[in-house]
Every structure is written in C-alpha cells, then in structure tokens.
Symmetry: C2
C-alpha cells in the first residue's frame, strides 16, 4: 500500500531540522548540480489545498533563480489543446544544471479525472512512463512528491480560504468536487500512484496536515535524493543504469535500391500538373479537418531534399505549412534533451511542419561524429519510436522520406555545384568530409530505416538519382498517404 | 492621395519580367542579406481576398527556409490577449540576416476596426510608429505592401471561394462585412495608409486585380528595396540616418544620496513582520484584479539586489511571480534587437516578473564595455521610454529600483565575499574589473536615472549601505505604489 492512512505512523525525518538550514543546503546542492550539469525535475502533485504553493515557496527561497524555474500547469489553453498531450511538458523540461519545479504536471489529467476509460488511463501511463524514462536516461533527476491530506483537513482549508479576502479566488469547483468525493479520489490516487511508481522515479508521499512539517519533509527528501544522485553521478559519470543493447546487423536497403528508375521531362511535367491541384486540395482538407502533419526529409548531401520540398510546398497555401531546416543545435539547444528543440516545432491542428533533416540526426550525424555516445544513439531508436507513436496517437500524420542517391551520383552533383557559380554556395567543406564517411552513413541509414520503420510512421525510401522520379514519388506518396489518413481517421 | 483608384494609371514595372527569374533574384539577395546580417521585415496588408497567400507563396519559393519565416496574424489567442498589443509582433521580428514575412501585422486591428475612437487610433499609430522606428534604427529593412482590389473583384473572389470545395472554409464574416461596407473601408484604409506612411517605411500600394501581376510587382518591389538597402548598408555601414543626439550632463544623483540611513535589526524585524502579510494580500489582489507587473532591480555589484528580491518574493505566492536574472545575451539573443529577449518575459495578467538587471543593460554595461555604439546607447533612453510607456498604457505596473552603495561599502562587501567560503561563489573576476570602472558606471547611472525617470515608470533610488534599510524601503515602496496603482486603475 502506497498511502499511509495512518498519519501517526509516518516517520517525520526532518521535523527537527532548522528550515533555513535546509533551504541553504538545498541552495548549495543547486550549485553542485549546476557544476555537474545535472537536470533536475521536481514534480509536486497532491490533493487540492494540500499546500503545494507553500512548499514550493520554501523550496525556491534560497536557490539561484537563474537556474530554477517554477512551472504551473492547470487546464490547457487553446494553444495547448491543439498539441499532443506531452507537448507543454517537454517545452518546460530543465536544461543541464537547472531545476524545474512543476506545480502539477503530466499527472494532471490522470489524477483529476475519475471517469477515464481503461484505455485512456493506459495511454496516459504509457506516455508518462516513456517521458520519465527518456528524461532519466538523459541523466535527469526526477523527484515526484505527492502531498497527502485527510478529508477533514481539506474541508477546513477550503473553508479557511473561502472566507479569506483574497484567497477565496483560489477556491474553485475542483476543490469542492474533490472534497465531496474524497473517498473515490483517495482510491483513484492510490491506484495512480501505484501504477506510476516507476523504478528510478518513485513517489514520495508526504502528509501535509501541517504545511510547515510537509515543507521540511519535502526539502529534506529533495536534499537526500539530490545528494544520492550527485554521488552516483560522480561515481559512474552518468546516473543511467547501463542496459545491454542488442544490435544485430541490419539488412542492406539503401545500396540495393533501383537507381535507374527515371521519368522523362515530359512525363514529369505531365504528372506534376496532374498532382498539383490535388495536393492543393489535400492541403485545404487537412486544414478543414484539422489534421496536423509532420513531413520528415532525410538523405545524403545533394540527394535533392530541398528540391523535392520546394516542388511540394508550391502546391500548398504558405500559411498552412512551415519548413524547418535542421542543422547543428545552438548552445542553448544543446543544454537540453536532444528532442527538446523539435517539440517546439510540433504543428497545431491543420498545420504542416516539414523537417529538412530532423531528430534522426541523433542516429546519423551524432552517431557518426561521436556527438552522441554509443549508448545514447542506440537508445535513440526506441525513444524516437515512442515519441512518434505518441504523436501519431495524438492525431498527427507522420510521413518520413528518405531520398537516396548512389556514390557516383553524389560526386557528379558535387562537381556540378563546385563548377556552377549559382549553386556554389550549396557546397561546403563539410559536405566533402561527410562524403568520405559514405560507408558509415550507409549503415547508419540502414539501421535507422530498419529500426524506426513502424506501422504508425514508416519510412518511404526513394531512389533519387533521377530528380524527376524522386520529386514525383514524393508528391504521389504525400497525396496517397494523406488521403488514406483522412479516410482512416473518419 | 495614396490610393490609385484609377487602375489604368498604375505603372506596372515588372509585368514583363519572368517570374522564376525574379524569384531566383530574390533568393540571391537573401544570401547577400544573410552575409551582411541585415534583418528584413516584409508586411503584407490589403483587402480580404486580395491574394496575400498567393503573393507570399511566390515570395518564399526560392528562399532558404532556414532564414525565412512566414507569420500569420489574425484574431488574438487567449494568451495574446493577456499581453500588450505589440507583444506578439516583437516575438516574431527577424534576426540579423533573416527575413520575416508578416501576413497581416500590427496594422491588423487598426485596419480592421471601422469604429475605433480617435484616441485609440492615435495610440495604435503611436505604437506602430515607435516599433517601426526602433526596428529601422536597428538596421531592419521594413517593406510594407498593401494589396488593393476593387469592390467587384472582391465580390467575385468571395463568390469563387464560397463555392470551392475547400476554400469555402477560408471565407468568413469579415470578408462579407468588408465587401458590404467597401466604401467605408476604402476611406478608412486610405486614412490609415496616409497616417502610417512613415519616412523610412513607406507603403507600397499594389493593385491585385490579377494576382499574377500583383505577385510580380511585389517581387520586383522587394528586390528593388533590398538592393537599395544593401547598397546603402555597404556604403554607410548602417542604414540608419545619423541623428544629432544632444547629450547634456546629468545631475549627480547617486553620489549625493544619504548613505547613513539605517535601521536597527530590531526595527527591521518589526517593520518586516508588519509589511509581509500586507504584501501577501497585495500579491493576491494583483491576481484577482488581473494586474500584470514588472519590477526592475538595478545597482552595482554587491548592492544587495538579490537579497532585497528574496525578502520581497518571500511575501508572494511562488506561482504568481517569476524572477528573471539577466546576464550577457546568448548568441541567438544577440542576433536580434536588444529588446527581443525581454519581450518574451512580459508577464500575463495578474503575474509579476522581477528582473534582476534588465534592458537597462543597454545604457549601462553595453555602454561602458562598448558592446553598443555611442549612437545606439544614446538612442536607447528614448526607445526604453517608449516601450515602458506602451507597457504602462497596456495596464502593466512598472516599478524600477536602483539600489546604491558607496565605493567603500562595495569594497567591504567584496572582501567579505572573498573571505567567506559560503559567499565566495558570488564574487568573480568580472566584479573586480567592473569596480575599476566605478566612475564611468556612476555617470551612466546618473544619465539613466535622469533620462528614464518618467511619470509612468519613475526610478526609485535607494541608498543601500545598510541592508535592512534598503530591504524595508523596497517592501514599503512596492506596497505603497502597488496599492496606489490599484486605486488609480479603478
């Protein structure tokens, strides 16, 4: 049993401590965390009126505000309702060395709604387990606090607040509802806490009959967990449990494509002219039916990603899509989990985001250049699958295009770019360096395609030696799969 | 007369040009812009159904999407309604070397509302003139396009769209309203265009009876303006007209404060105990009355800003305020107008943002270290006044605290920090270097206080040699001015 109904039995460990000493110690630990670059996520859940505000106030008193942020989550805003459930939380994750305090969190809906179906509950738990694991694997220390109070205490506090000159505005329907159905909520919370008491991010359930005592316990628990995490970090370099990652060789896919597939200019023109108005309609249909979509383009340098994107976007209303070209992350982006910068680009309903390169950089350039450790990129296949699954389940259409050219064709195009002053700017030293790693990239591509082609987000691999053929294939696939998606979603 | 009602008289300059050539040329100019680091803002206004989408599509076809972003503005969202009018536009300004295309812009409300009072209209125009001037002064090229169509053309397009399978969703009440009251809108637009045809950011009015022709004209005009701006930039280094900036010496304020003002520990404790619950109430009152507030703290190193902020925030619910410590801008922040990073922190209704250092860095550290040119920091006093005026007019309470200590006191505190291991981390090499520039900072402070103490956002200058005195003064001033603000706003 997670809940200690018997408050007498709760062992107050820090009730004798001096609060300002604890606050100072927490402040000191923050400096250590900053030094070591450990992200810390503290989540405060609990009954309404259980004193979350009071506790947070003490928690952040002696910290450096530069590296600490309190995020309050309540009902979703218009904008948030248009995005996948985890979106608003991913946007607020702590950077390396920073502390994020969540007042309510991704447990909000799960805790708040007594009438969730089994299926929905399972989905929430799956999503939450996945984000917590991903953050832990990225060395984030997660501290989950649940403040517990009795029915009577809650009642007393509601009464106290509703007669208070200002605090009365803080009392809302949810408070009354919870107090009226206290027993049901108790059972519900108990179940949720049990189901989400994950190894590595366990719940700390703290009685909050006295907010002062609760605050001491929270401070003490946070200090305790941070100390342990820092020691573990110093000892092992990384807080993550090293898992054995099986990695059998992938089938050769890229090399065995038929690079002779081609279209004449005349055929190209004709098919394009036929497809363009249909794609234009599809764009409006996405808008009307509020379908958000993500199109990902990957491929070697000079494969023709940009050209294909240009022919595609030409069909759409420019207010309906955004092209997001991805290159090396900025310093700020680098201080976060690698997925953070992509979450910001997730489209709202009816809009399309086209990624020219994408989060697959983790298993491509970051793998090959060693920017990600072997453990990190090996783990990333599954992480990406989980996130794409979450997006797909939230109603996002995901189309992933891999445009492939063979080695000779790349050389031809590089030479062409080198000699043509109009195209010269497209060719960099780095392109030549990447070319030397052709074989490494080839196996990275094969691994990526094999490991992240899922039912909900399959790779569409297109041989692109002939640009006309590749561009038409992209147009065709977007149209075909777009229409099918709308059909299926109906 | 701005409008050419007689379409026959409009001189199509680019109608003979090849569109794809123009698009390519625009793409080439973008690379030049990127190279020179010039920000470009293209705003598209015009009648409903005048073809803004069509024109934008052509405009962005051949550009590098990495450095171009289309922003669509329509009715404000929940979040946007909680912020000052200019907030959503400042957030989308182009970085150096980038192009931002605004589909509708800060002219939206001004153009759309026929029934604006004279006062409101004047306020809009004042705000718009100020943002355009500030951006131009920061070397931004502003291109303003108005697409003009006749009543009949608009009627035809509405009819065409409303029978179109998908486009019908794009037709809304505004279109019908505009067409019904075409003449009134014509008069209104004419007036708005006249009133906002500012030197340096003039309107380009382009007939859009044929979208294709309009698109050629827009491309041609943009190319033309960009070319001129690039030449000007290459010749003068900066697009800005150099203004003579009068700069008489300021009165000595900081040096002449009474640094002997002090409180005993006993008095301090007693007054604090009295003020804390009152400030706590004030915090809730701000929340209830939806008052957004900005508190700025400036002062030399070790003046006690952090300590004063800590004593103040202790009084408030941590969910109601955010402390934003300001240090050197990141690379990304540096690529924007210096105000950009602060706009992101503007609080929504009922919330408080506490800046530990602020936009005044422009006239302090940036002035003294030479990060801003003389012209830039001299211009900044007025820019800051304009922005604070805008904030105040939008209902934001602004309190600016300057905590001063004298030279001896700073040395005492530095030594204390140096010798006390607990405080050691607070003292850096930079603090010592800044100390050497004491006199320069002193006159920068005096200039700042003299030039930016306005009726709507005065400086509150507090001698802080005695920490107790300074902290109490901050608490008292926040309480007094907070209550007065609520009283006045009623």
């Amino acid at each position: 049993m997670l809940f200690e109904f018997d408050y007498d039995k709760y062992n107050y460990e820090y009730s004798e401590c001096d609060k300002s000493e604890l606050m100072k110690e927490f402040g000191l630990l923050q400096r250590k965390i900053k030094e070591l670059g450990i992200p810390v996520l503290i989540m405060l859940e609990g009954w309404e009126c259980s004193g979350k505000g009071y506790v947070i106030n003490d928690l952040v008193r002696e910290v450096n505000h530069k590296y600490t942020k309190v995020h309050v989550f309540s009902e979703m805003t218009e904008e948030e309702r248009e995005k996948p459930f985890l979106w608003r939380f991913w946007n607020c994750i702590p950077a390396k060395g920073e502390i994020a305090v969540f007042d309510r969190s991704f447990y909000y809906d799960l805790m708040d709604d007594l009438n969730l179906t089994k299926k929905k509950t399972a989905k929430y738990i799956e999503d939450i387990e996945s984000i917590e694991k991903q953050l832990r694997d990225d060395d984030t220390v997660i501290i989950k606090i649940f403040l517990n109070i009795s029915e009577q205490t809650q009642k007393n506090r509601i009464q106290e607040y509703e007669t208070h000159k200002y605090k009365k505005i803080l009392v809302n329907e949810r408070d009354y509802r919870q107090n009226r159905s206290y027993d049901e909520y108790l059972k519900h919370f108990n179940q949720v806490l049990k189901d989400t008491d994950f190894k590595g991010s366990r719940w700390n359930i703290i009685p909050s009959e006295s907010m002062k005592k609760a605050s001491l316990e929270v401070l003490g628990n946070c200090i305790d967990i941070l100390k342990k995490s820092i020691l573990k970090h110093l000892e092992f370099g990384s807080v993550v449990d090293k898992e054995e990652l099986l990695f059998p060789e992938s089938k050769k896919i890229i090399e065995e494509l038929d690079y002779d597939l081609s279209l004449s200019h005349k055929e190209y023109k004709k098919i394009k002219k036929d497809l363009e108005p249909k794609l234009n309609s599809l764009g409006y249909e996405f808008f009307v039916k509020k379908v958000p979509s993500i199109l990902i383009f990957e491929g070697v340098d000079a494969a023709g990603k940009g050209g294909a994107i240009k022919r595609l976007t030409k069909c759409f209303d420019p207010r309906g899509y955004e092209v997001v070209p991805i290159s090396a992350p900025s310093d700020v982006e680098n201080s976060y989990h690698y997925m953070w910068r992509f979450w910001k680009e997730i489209p709202p309903n009816g809009k399309m985001t086209i990624f020219d390169r994408s989060w697959y950089g983790r298993v491509l350039v970051e793998r090959i250049e060693g920017f990600a450790t072997e453990e990190q990129w090996k783990r990333a296949y599954n992480e990406i699958n989980e996130i794409e699954k979450h997006l797909r389940k939230s109603g996002v259409l995901i189309l992933k295009f891999f445009i492939a050219i063979d080695n000779d064709e790349q050389l031809r195009r590089f030479n062409d770019r080198m000699l043509n002053p109009d195209k010269n700017y497209k060719l960099t030293e780095e392109d030549w360096r990447n070319r030397e790693k052709w074989d490494s990239y080839l196996s990275a591509y094969d691994d990526m395609i094999e490991r992240t082609s899922t039912e909900y987000a399959p790779w569409i691999v297109i041989p692109g030696n002939d640009k006309y053929y590749a561009r038409i294939r992209v147009l065709e696939e977007v149209l075909k799969r777009g229409l099918k998606f709308i059909e299926d979603e109906r």
